[in-house]
């Protein structure tokens, strides 16, 4: 049996965590970085880059580099509005179909792109376990988190992504609930908790009651299309208008995006910053920034109020407020949330890491059967079916604890009718057209009877993942009906299977990409060490007294050679030139080592030599 992990598959960053000896820990890379940017870049030669490496390519190959793919999970082309214009990659799905992202000769669905990120996290975890000397380091199962307000299609798309990445998805859990688990570990007390989760692309609010180790969600609300991305887009539009750069290239748009993101981050701990894009410079004071983004932040408050109403609570009854997600670092967010609930929110745990930690805890509960803690979550949206006149009839109401069931009786309209069509929806609105279409079902095999005689009971089951399944039975004959599912915005099982096979075929390319990244990391380490030596205080003296004629020139030449090919695709060339630089600096390294050893022996610091 392989290893089990918890994964936070975020809009901006993704993380992987696991439980070691009862303690959840986030897995970091060699530099201590836990975040894998949720960015995927597919080069001309089909090499796939994920994370930091892909992030770098946003500036050099923006048309083939995808970010914020979570926004497209479970979505149709019709759902993608005017923001598509600001994404440098192209969306190529059929107008009535699901979103597809075109990359040269191939196009990818959102779950396939997400699967690349999941595979990277899987590899990261496997490398970690291998480095710890584990014999069986394979990671084959995971709990993956989603925004609480994700609908059935978005949850299913996430589960599909896991399957395509070769992971057995044990459970889909909600991000705010996962966060509450991580918080609840060190504070074992009862009370009412509000988790305010404002991430890169989504916003959730969940109200929980914690008692006897049971984390019971009372109500949840949110907006799956509201996050830090929207703040960035607003600022980007402003800069684009100011520079009157209507026809900006993908790379230019990316440069603007990175500049405004940096400014946004700066303004979390400074009162003023400057956005520099090419020759355009703009000073932004925090007050101005806050007045620009205020409408976006205020959009999070209405869902909070609704969740409180649904939970039957007043803001003052909430005992603790927990902040999750990178966007909660913005001082204005903290201020408005504090005002709404009348108390200072908790920020002890890293808002970027707390969700992954909770996912790891849930994975551990599932695997070990540990009964100390229990999560009881709810379905965020009402589930219903289309009835006469285009009206939605609700069968399972929002904020029902899951798993939950509902059933509905159907009959026939004409004699000997053997099939019935059923349209399943999710949402709170009256009319079918205003809600989300989940799927169309065809009930078949109804025994031939006069019209109105059959009594077909259709059972809707929402499982602990918040995902729907449907069964049907004709009660007079007690015959189980077959159901054909046509998801409105999803993949069929066959499509997921095919994608999984495809991904095996691409595994080789992925492996090559990893080797390339490793070669680059190695080269960067040597470059940094060399640059550090050349900048050191005693270098001038060493160069004069100890280096051979032409040695410095050789080092500088080798350094320039590696730097020149560092971002290229040729792994062997990078390795060869890294090797050359190592050779060229070997003597210098020895000299410096000797000096520091002598300095240590004589008790003096190198600086004073």
């Amino acid at each position: 049996m392989g290893k089990v992990v918890g994964i936070d598959l975020g809009t901006t960053n993704s993380l992987v965590a696991y439980v070691a000896d009862g303690v959840p820990v986030v897995i970091r890379d060699r530099t201590g970085d836990a975040l894998v940017p949720s960015v995927v870049s597919v080069a001309d030669d089909s090499t796939v880059f994920v994370g930091r490496e892909a992030e770098r390519r946003l500036l050099t190959d923006p048309a083939r580099t995808i970010y914020s793919v979570k926004r497209f999970m479970g979505k149709g082309m019709r759902d993608v509005g005017d923001e598509a214009r600001l994404f440098p990659f192209s969306l190529v799905g059929d107008p009535g179909g699901i979103v597809r992202i075109g990359l040269g000769t191939r196009d990818f669905t959102a779950p396939e792109i997400s699967a690349f990120i999941l595979r990277e996290l899987k590899h990261r975890a496997e490398a970690h376990f291998a480095a710890q000397g584990e014999i069986d380091s394979e990671v084959d199962r995971a709990v993956i988190t989603v925004p609480a307000y994700f609908n059935d299609a978005q949850r299913t798309a996430t589960r599909d992504a896991g399957r395509i990445a070769g992971l057995d998805v044990l459970r889909i859990i909600n991000e705010p609930t996962a966060a509450s688990l991580a918080y609840g570990l060190d504070k074992r007390h009862a009370g009412l908790i509000a988790v305010y989760d404002f991430g890169g692309g989504t916003f959730d609010i969940s109200i929980l009651r914690v008692e006897d180790g049971v984390f019971q969600v009372l109500a949840t609300n949110g907006d799956t299309h509201l996050g830090g991305d929207d703040i960035d887009l607003l600022l980007m539009k402003q800069i684009l208008a100011e520079t009157k750069n209507a026809g900006a290239s993908g790379a230019e748009i990316q440069a603007i995006r990175q500049a405004v993101i940096q400014a946004k981050l700066d303004l979390s701990d400074r009162d003023e910053t400057e956005v520099i894009v090419g020759t355009h410079r703009k000073r932004i004071a925090r007050a101005e920034f806050e007045s620009v983004i205020r409408p976006i932040v205020e959009r999070t408050l209405e869902p909070c109020r609704q969740a409180l109403v649904d939970a039957g609570l007043q803001p003052s009854q909430i005992d603790e407020v927990v902040l999750v997600g990178g966007s909660t670092r913005i001082p204005l967010v903290r201020r408005l949330v504090g005002e709404l609930f009348g108390r200072t929110p908790h920020t002890e745990l890293n808002p970027d890491e707390v969700v992954a930690l909770g996912a790891a805890i849930q994975a551990d509960i599932l695997m070990t059967g540990n009964r100390e803690l229990l999560l009881l979550d709810v379905t965020p949206l009402s589930l219903g079916i289309e009835t006469m006149g285009g009206v939605m009839s609700k069968i399972i109401l929002r904020n029902s604890t899951i798993p939950a069931t509902g059933s509905e009786m159907f009959t026939t309209f004409v004699d000997n009718q053997t099939a019935v069509d059923i349209h399943v929806l999710q949402g709170e609105r009256e009319l079918v057209a205003d809600n989300r279409s989940l799927a169309r079902f065809k009930l078949r095999g109804i025994p031939a009877m006069p019209a109105g005689m059959p009594r077909v009971q259709v059972q809707f089951q929402i499982d602990a993942n918040g995902i729907l399944s449907v069964t049907a039975r004709e009660l007079r004959t007690d015959v189980e009906q077959t159901i054909e599912v046509k998801p409105s915005y999803g993949l069929t099982d066959d499509e997921v299977e095919r994608m999984l096979l495809d991904s095996f075929e691409h595994a080789e390319a992925d492996f090559a990409a990893r080797l390339l990244i490793e070669a680059r990391n190695e080269a960067e380490t040597v470059i940094r060490a060399t640059a550090k030596s050349l900048r050191s205080r005693e270098f001038a003296e060493i160069a004069e007294s100890e280096l051979k004629p032409g040695e410095l020139e050789r080092i500088e030449g080798a350094l320039a050679n590696v730097t020149a090919v560092l971002n290229g695709p040729d792994r062997e060339l990078i390795k060869a030139r890294t090797h050359d630089l190592n050779e060229a600096t070997q003597h210098l390294a020895e000299v410096m080592m000797n000096r520091s050893v002598q300095a240590a022996l004589t008790g003096k610091s190198i600086d004073r030599l």
Partner: protein, 234 residues
């Protein structure tokens, strides 16, 4: 704390074939989680009597305790049959808790269980039938609503027609308050019958019938007030 069904063997274990009372969730013989049968009710499932005034704190405690017994999280590595039973039992528990916690849903559920389902009688055109004793009030309200609509269409200031609407709904509000009091009284009388199944059968039926009527009228009033509410906020 025993309902009239407790103690009678009403469910069977599919694993070992043994029998079990309705308010147990694991087979007393083989200790496997039981699959849910088609018969049974929320009260028996939660181990509480069929009363209308429930101790909500006790209900919550039972809900949490049972969740801890058979939530699917704890059957992750169990056999498919046990996993299925855990999913069914948890779903049923959640539905039961949601229904019994809400006083309106609770009384409607109980009426259905006792053979007095509160189904709204419909008039010919599919709209709910006006309860006889409310005909006069409903007629008056509808007249007022028509006038309010005319006022709005004529461009009257919102304060004017809003005040008119508020006045129009006052008698209906009063009617609702009276209904709530009657419902409370009937509920207390129902609970007073207790577990004495041998109690006067006609007394039971009279209370249940009256309860059903009050519930139907209350639903009708609530729909009416919702309509007014929509009108106010339009």
């Amino acid at each position: 704390m025993s309902s009239e069904t407790t103690g009678r063997v009403l469910q069977a274990c599919k694993n070992c074939g043994g029998g079990a009372p309705m308010d147990v969730h694991f087979c007393p013989q083989c200790s496997q989680i039981l699959t849910i049968g088609r018969h049974g009710d929320y009260f028996a499932f939660l181990g509480i009597p069929r009363r209308l005034n429930l101790d909500v704190t006790d209900l919550e405690r039972r809900f949490r305790a049972l969740s801890r017994q058979f939530h699917p999280d704890y059957f992750f590595n169990a056999s498919p049959a046990e996993r299925r039973a855990s999913l069914e039992r948890s779903s049923y528990l959640n539905d039961a808790y949601r229904t019994l916690r809400n006083p309106v849903a609770r009384v409607e559920y109980l009426l259905g269980l006792e053979g007095f389902p509160p189904r709204q009688p419909e008039s010919g055109d599919g709209t709910p039938k006006v309860p006889a004793e409310m005909l006069e009030e409903v007629f008056a309200l509808n007249e007022e609503l028509d006038e309010v609509r005319a006022l709005r269409a004529g461009g009257a200031a919102p304060e004017v027609w809003r005040a008119r609407l508020e006045r129009a709904r006052a008698p209906i509000d009063a009617r609702r308050a009276a209904h709530e009091a009657e419902l409370e009284d009937l509920s207390a009388r129902w609970d007073g019958l207790g577990d004495d199944a041998g109690a006067d059968g006609r007394g039971r039926e009279a209370i249940l019938g009256a309860l059903r009527e009050r519930v139907l009228e209350r639903n009708y009033i609530n729909n009416l007030l919702e309509g007014v509410e929509r009108e106010l906020n339009a």
